[in-house]
Symmetry: C2
Subunit: 299 residues, 2 copies
Amino acid sequence: MRKLGAIEAGGTKFVCGIGTEDGQILERASFPTETPEVTMKNVVSFFEGKDIEALGIGSFGPIDPIVGSPTYGYITTTPKPHWGQFDFVGHMKKHFSVPMSFDTDVNGAALGEYTWGAARGLDSCMYITVGTGIGAGAVVDGKMLHGLSHPEMGHILVRRHPEDTFEGFCPYHGDCLEGMAAGPAIEKRWNIKGSELTPDHPAWEMEAYYLAQALMNYVLILSPQKIIMGGGVMKQEQLFPLIRTKLSELLNGYVQHPSLSQHLDQYIVYPELGDNAGLCGAIALAKLALEGEEGATIG
Amino acid sequence: MRKLGAIEAGGTKFVCGIGTEDGQILERASFPTETPEVTMKNVVSFFEGKDIEALGIGSFGPIDPIVGSPTYGYITTTPKPHWGQFDFVGHMKKHFSVPMSFDTDVNGAALGEYTWGAARGLDSCMYITVGTGIGAGAVVDGKMLHGLSHPEMGHILVRRHPEDTFEGFCPYHGDCLEGMAAGPAIEKRWNIKGSELTPDHPAWEMEAYYLAQALMNYVLILSPQKIIMGGGVMKQEQLFPLIRTKLSELLNGYVQHPSLSQHLDQYIVYPELGDNAGLCGAIALAKLALEGEEGATIG
C-alpha cells in the first residue's frame, strides 16, 4: 500500500495527513497557521520518516497553480502577514523529492468529492465553502478548473436583498457575495454569531437569497453536474431547502434538465466526505501527482 | 485538400459553408430560418455533391451537445416554432455519412477563435455574442465547456443601473443580463434602434455597466485567458473602452494578473475572425469531428 501525503493549508490551521490511494485517512495532525517558519517546521516534521510517495497541497490563496508559470507553487498576493510570495512547493521539494500537486483548497475539495464523494462517476462538479470567506472550486471534464489563474468565485456580484441595509465587509468589493454572505457578514449584520441564531431566524432566508443567486450564476456559466456546499455556515441544514427553492424560482424553468427540475435535493448537497472534504481533496491531489508522474514515465 | 462542411444555424438565418483544415472559407450560402422542412432542404442541397469529409454544426439553442445522451444532436426546448425537439444531427446523418460535431453557435465561435483567431496558442477563452440575445461559449483546457448541458451565460443576474427604469424583456427572468442588455433591451429602453444612437449617447455607458458586471462574474468563475465579444451590439466600438474601465473598477485589483492590470485592451477584444467567427467556428467543429474520427480509428 502506497502512502500519500496531504496538506490542507488554511488561514487558521494546517491539517496534515497520510492517506491511501482509495482515499482512506491513516493519520492526521493539525497545526495553527503562524509564520511560514514556525508552521512549515511542524509540517515538515510531520512527514519526515513517513515514506510518502507523493504529496498533495490544497492551499488558501491566492496561489499560483499554473504549472510552468515562474511562480508556480507559490502563495502569491495573500493579505495574510508573512505568507505573501511564499514558495510552498519549493519549500516542500527541499525536504521531500516526491511528485507534488498544488491547487486551491476548494479545487482540491472539488477533486476529492469527484474522486470519492458526492460527485463520484460524474464528469464535473463544484465545491463551494461558506465560512469565514466564500470560495469555490470546480472539476470540469475530469480536471480542476484553471485559466488565467484559479477561479475566485466567492467575489461575484449579487443583488442586495430589499430589506438588507448591511454594507458588506469585503475590503475589495464591499457587497459582493463574500461581503454579504460569509460568516462574518452574518455576525456583523445581526450582531450575533450565526451559530447562535435559531433555525427559523430571518437571517437564513436572507443568506439563502444571496447563495441562491450565486448558484444561479454558477449553473448558467459552468453547468456543473453536481453542486457541493460545505464550510461552517452550511452546517445550518435549514439552508439547503431554502437555497433549492430560491434557485428554482430564479431559474424559472429556463434550463431544462431533470437535475434542476426534479432532483434539486440530489443536485445541491452537503459534502459526502463531510469535514474530511479538504484533507481528502489534498489526498486526491497527491494521487493525481503520482499518476501524472507515472504517466510521464510511461509516456 | 480535404473539404469540411460547416453550418452556422441561427434563429434568423442558416449560413452554410465549405472550409479547409486551416480555417479558410471556400464557399458559402445563406438561407432564411423557416420551418425545418424548408430550411433543411436548402441545407442538404447545398452540401450535396461537395464531397465533404466532416460536418460541424454550431446551432442556436437550447440544444443537447452531450455525446451519449438520448437526445444528442437535437435542438431541444427552443421556443422557436417548429424547431423544438428537432433531431438536427440525425437529419444530416440520413444524407451524409461523415463524422459530425454539434454544439452551440457560441461554443463553436469560441472554438474557432481558439483555433484560428484571437485566442490562438492559449488554453482557454470565452466568446460572448451581444445581439438580439446574449450568449456565451467557452473553451477550457482546449475543450468546449459542457457539464449538465451547455452554458447559458446570457441569463446571469445583474444589478440594475441606478438610473435605469426599464423592466427588462427576458420572458423567463425579466431583468437578467439578456433582459437588460441585448439589442432589443436597448431599443425598448430608448425607443430607438441601438444602431441609430450616437456613440456618446448615455445608452452606451448603461450598456457597458451591465456587460462589465457580466465579465466580472465570468472572470471570477471561469478565469478565461481571453474574452472575445462579438455580435451586432459589439460593433459599437465605443463600448470596448467603457467595458474595460468598468470591469477594472469592479475587480478593484482583487485578481492580480498582468492581463487584468496592464493589458485589458488585449484581454477583451472583438473577434479576430470578425463576422466569420460563427462559420469558422462550425469549420473548427468539423475539424474536431474529423480528428475525433481519426483518433478513434487509430486508438
